[in-house]
Each structure stands twice: as C-alpha cells, then as structure tokens.
C-alpha cells in the first residue's frame, strides 16, 4: 500500500513539476500580453488587465502581423505537405521493397540531416539570390522540406514497420498495385503517424528562424518569428507588450492543430488488423 502511495505521490509531483516547468514561460507570455504595463512585476506598475497590445498588433499596419502570420501558415503548410508527400512513398519503398543497400541509404540520409543549419546558410543565400528567389515563399519552402525530410523518413519508416506485412500481401492478392496498396491500405492505416508527421513538419517550419531571417527581406515573405523579432516601437524601444501579444496569437494555430489532430494521433487505428 505505502509503495503504491509513494508511487502516486512521485507521479503527481513529477507531472506537477513538468507542467510548471513547461507552462510558466507561456503563462508569463500571456500575462505580459494582457497587462497594461509589460513590467507588471515591478512594484510601481502592478497588473492591470488590458487588451491594448492586442489591439495594437491587430490594427497597426506598420507591424504587419497578419502578413507574417499568413506567410508562416502558407510556408509551413506547404513544407509539411510536400515533406510527407515525398517521405511516405519513400518510407513505403524502403520498408516493403527488396532493395540492396537500404540500410546504407538510411544512414546516409541521417548523416545529411546532421549538417548544422548555420554551415549551409551562406551558400544557400547565394543560391537563392542567383535564382532570384530571395524574399519568396519557395526560398523557405524548399530548404524546410530538405531539412524535415530525413526526420520524416525515419519517423514514417518506424510507423510503416509496425504495419504487418501480411496486409500488403493480402492487398496484392486482392489485386492492388503497389501504388494502390500505399494509397488504400498503408496510408489510411498509418494515418496517426502521417498526421503526427505533418504536425511535426509544420511546427518545425513555423518556428524556424535562421533561414527565414536570411532569405527574406520584408513582410511579403517574412514569417512570424522573424517578424516579431523585428517589432520596433516608434522610437526604437522594444515593445514587449506587442511582442507578447503577437507571440500569443501566433501560438494559437499550433495549439488548435495539436488539439484537433490529437484524437487522430492517439486513436489506435491498427487495432484489430491482426490477432492481438
């Protein structure tokens, strides 16, 4: 009994610590954005609820917040979609088809993903400049796909490996071509994996900063992290309230996405495929 109890306490304490540790910065962000004076912890100011900063972010045309948000959503969605579009058939081929040296290929892909971004950026800048793509969506989408692809491939491979090979063989016997198997059997069965991969790729692209700041020049292509970093007050001061309001607003899409897909991710879709 006492051991059970101790376990319960430890789990509760651990969860509590994790929650506080992870959510305090978020709480601070939201609180700052809602405070009349961003320095609400100082003794002179104190906390007074206000939507002033939100109004400023929403109405001030010079901040371009909605441009940034739009750019981010388009770039991230495109990157995530194309990444999975490429990774899914690749993972299927690697897990299902007989192919010499596929393990080697996988490690090669992993090695490629180890390059630090900073080491690529100067060449990438010249490349995009030569193409005339600086400050365009494709200048961001292409590198994001390249960066997310190795991770996507590895994650999808581990999902596909969990799907029993007998499903493929049943589909072959039922008259499917390999493409039909992928589209009609593997993808629906691996849907939780596909969705979590989409989400991961989306979040990666949404948060990316280094490439975004190097390869874009103004609000027509700049994404939210870059945009917020460049927020400036009229006289060059740092508008903390507006920054926090913008940050809060831009985390909303991610929170919604996660909540929406959470059910699909957790759903045990492979249940009942084979004898448990």
């Amino acid at each position: 009994m006492t051991e059970e109890r101790a376990k319960g306490w430890l789990i509760a304490a651990g969860s509590g610590f994790m929650l506080v540790f992870c959510l305090t910065p978020v709480l601070y962000m939201v609180a700052t954005s809602l405070s009349e004076d961003p320095l609400f912890l100082s003794q002179q100011a104190g906390f007074h609820l206000s939507l002033r900063h939100y109004a400023a972010v929403a109405t001030s045309g010079s901040l371009h917040f909605f441009h940034y948000l739009g750019n981010s959503l388009v770039v991230s969605a495109l990157s995530a979609f194309v990444t999975v579009l490429i990774a899914a058939p690749a993972a299927y081929a690697i897990t299902r088809l007989v192919m010499p040296g596929r393990v080697l290929l996988l490690y090669f892909v992993l090695a490629v993903s180890m390059f630090p971004q900073i080491s690529l950026i100067s060449y990438l800048f010249r490349f995009m400049a030569a193409l005339g793509w600086i400050n365009t969506y494709q200048a961001l989408v292409l590198p994001y796909i390249a960066l997310a692809l190795p991770l996507a491939l590895w994650i999808l491979i581990s999902y596909f490996l969990q799907i029993p090979g007998e499903l493929d063989r049943a589909a072959l016997v039922d008259g499917c071509s390999r493409w039909q198997i992928l589209r009609r059997v593997i993808l629906p069965v691996a849907a939780p994996g596909i969705f979590s991969m989409l989400l991961l790729a989306f979040i990666f692209a949404f948060n990316e900063f280094l490439f975004a700041i190097m390869l874009t020049t103004d609000y027509r292509a700049q994404t939210v992290p870059v945009g917020i970093a460049l927020f400036q007050g009229l006289h060059g001061e740092i508008p903390w309230g507006a920054i926090m309001a913008a940050s809060t607003l831009s985390s909303i899409p991610l929170v919604i996405l996660t909540l929406f897909f959470q059910r699909r991710i957790i759903q045990g879709l492979t249940r009942g495929a084979i004898k448990g």
Binding site: L172, Q180, P188, L269
Partner: protein
C-alpha cells in the same frame, strides 16, 4: 484448376548469403482437390504457397495453372497475384483495420472496378453464406477471432477465385473453435469445388482436411499421398514420426539370422521376427536397422505372461479415452498406448510385459528410408 510445380525452387538472398527455402519440388495439385502442405516450421511450406500465389518469384523451375505457365525462372515469366485469380487467407487474417466488414469483403471487387450494385449483391451473398450478415457494419477490431477468420474467408471467396490458398488459417483460434471451423471449411470446399491448397504444421488438421497431403522438410518433399497412405506407409522415419500423435516409436535394432530364422535385438532383448515382416524382402541384410512401431500396436500385459519385453514404467500419461505409458528399453524411449482401463492405475516403477505386434511394424534403413516389402505393399 490444376496446378503443377515443376522442379520448383526458391532461394532467399540476404547479406548473410543464400538460404534455400524450397529445393526442386515437383508436384501436381488436381482440379477441385483439397491439398495440404504439411511440415514443421521452416520447412518451406509457406514459401511454396507464396510461390503459387505469386507473392514470391521462383529462383528455379516452373508453375503451371492448367496449361498456362504463370511463373518460370528460366523463361522469365511471372504473373502477378492479380492476374492469377487466386484468393488467400492469412494466418493473421490480415483484415484492413480501417474498413468495415463490408469494406473488407468488398475490397477486391472495388479494386477490380466492379459496379456498386454488383458489389453489394456479391458481398450480401458471401456474408449470408458465412453468417456475417449482421456484422457488415462492424470494424475488424470489434470482432472475435472466429468472426475475423470468417471475414477473411468471405473476402477470399467473394471474387470466385479459381485457386483458394490458406496459410495456417486456424492456428489463431482456440481448440474448440478450431475443430468446428475445420469441419465447416471442409464442407465449404466440397460445396464450392475450388482447388484448395492449405498450409499447416498440425498433422491432425492435415489428416482430417486433406484429400492428399505433401509432407515437407527443409524445403524438400518427403512424401505425397492420401492421409491413410501417410499413416499406413510412411516413406521414411521423418514422416513416420510426424504423422499421428503420440508418434510412432522408432527403435534402433539389430537384425540377425539364426538357424534360418530372422531375429531382432533391441538392447539385449531378442524377438522373433514374423515372416510377413521380412518375407519377400530382397534388401534385408543382417545388421543395424530402425524398427517403427506405433504405440497402439504394443499390447500391455501383466507380468507373468510369456512376454519377451518386461519393462519398467517411466511415466504414465492419462489421455482420457486411453492411457499412454512411457518405457525405457535400454537407453531407448518406447511409448505404448492402451485403452484397457485397469492399467491406468499402474505407477511409474512398476514392471509390465510388452507385446509388440511386429506384423504391423515398419522397417527403416539406418538413413531413415522405409524398406518396402511386397507383402505389405499389396496388403494396403
């Protein structure tokens, strides 16, 4: 559909080298036959099935469906499963978890591009044949093992396949359900008359289902025959010990001639060999042989009778209707089965007299091959 395998072989090539799974097998499966591939795990029986299905490419030999060549290594012919019009039931059933029972059964027809109405009618028909009508809306995850298995069979039959392949379809069911499904499967096959190839490692299933059985070991064919042929005339010690449970006793013996009569020696016990066992057999020579005798062909007597074998009971195994006794003859294990109830009380350590019915025994050479004597061949 008549299926012919001609010098069929399959090697798997991996980083560790070549592994032969099927080694030059020749066999013919006849129209409407229920044919069983039987063998221990790793004997290549599932590979043979996959080769027939078109899920594997042979590395040697040919497969013929009637007079159509569907796979040939030499002529580079290979028809994919969709072109062979086969249906298959897998050990794990391999139902599509994201589709309903209806969706699962309809799947092959949808892939074939059938119209919605015809699909619905065909699914209705097989579903009612297999008692699945009420389950059509359920997902595979909500079904019991037996129901899943019936869905897998329905999905296989909905297309009117010309060949029906089953890969250990009963091994995931519990014992009772397995027995009843076995009977159902047999009568279903009789009614539909589809050429059926059935893979199993369970000799009881093989014996009760098969019109003919092929026993495989390490990718080679050990024997093909009707169930009673395998039981009565096992071609070698492997088949002899694989068919029937408890298996045939295999004893190392020595044959010798004394005053014109054949005798056999087990350990230090000597037995007279009945004429019919050795009679017109040309191969017989004095020396070491293997004697095969089924446990039910050894009678047990109380000691005192004029029996040659008086052996100590090592273990007693009641099997319900019968009792199985384990003995040690010298260093060799010997099992005897009796239906006589009063021996059931015998305890380990007790000495009983054994009377093997040598007229029903088999003689194998030291390399395991059965010695055919003319008397026995004509008798069966």
């Amino acid at each position: 559909m008549n299926i012919r395998l001609v010098r069929l072989s399959k090697e798997f090539i991996s980083a560790r080298g070549r592994t032969p799974a099927v080694r030059t097998i020749d066999l013919e499966i006849r129209e409407s036959e229920f044919f069983v591939l039987l063998g221990p795990s790793g004997c290549g029986k599932s590979t043979v099935l996959n080769l027939i299905a078109g899920l594997e490419k042979p590395t040697g030999g040919e497969i013929w469906f009637d007079d159509r060549l569907v796979a040939s290594a030499a002529e580079r012919v290979f028809e994919s499963p969709r072109d062979r019009n086969i249906a298959m039931v897998f050990q794990s059933y391999a139902l599509y978890p994201h589709l309903s029972v209806f969706g699962n059964i309809a799947f092959p027809l949808e892939i074939a591009g059938e119209g919605k109405k015809r699909i619905a009618a065909a699914v209705e028909r097989v579903a009612s044949m297999l008692g699945l009508t009420e389950l059509l809306a359920a997902r595979p995850g909500e079904l019991s093992g037996g129901q899943r298995q019936r869905v897998a069979i329905a999905r296989a039959l909905v297309r009117h396949p010309t060949v029906f392949l089953l890969d250990e379809p009963l091994s995931n069911l519990d014992a009772q359900l397995r027995a009843s499904t076995r009977t159902e499967l047999r009568s279903l096959q009789r009614r539909l008359g589809i050429t059926t190839v059935y893979v199993t490692h369970d000799q009881v299933e093989a014996m009760s289902l098969g019109d003919r059985i092929a026993v495989l070991r390490e990718g080679r064919l050990e024997q093909i025959g009707r169930p009673e042929e395998l039981f009565e005339e096992p071609a070698n010690t492997f088949v002899a010990s694989f068919i029937a449970s408890p298996p045939m006793n295999l004893l190392e013996i020595e044959l010798f001639l004394e005053a014109g009569r054949w005798l056999l020696r087990i350990d230090d016990r000597e037995l007279m060999v009945p004429d019919c066992m050795v009679d017109p057999c040309d191969e017989l020579k004095p020396g070491a042989w293997i004697l095969g005798i089924r446990p039910e062909h050894i009678r047990i007597h109380p000691v005192g009778a004029a029996a040659v074998l008086k052996e100590r009971v090592e273990a007693v195994e009641p099997m319900g209707r019968e009792v199985l006794f384990h003995f040690l003859v010298g260093s060799q294990k010997l099992m005897a089965l009796t239906a006589e109830g009063h021996f059931a009380a015998a305890c380990p350590g007790e000495v009983l007299a054994l009377d093997p019915d040598l007229k029903r025994a088999h003689l194998f050479s030291r390399n395991g091959k059965r010695v055919v004597n003319r008397w026995r061949s004509s008798a069966v």
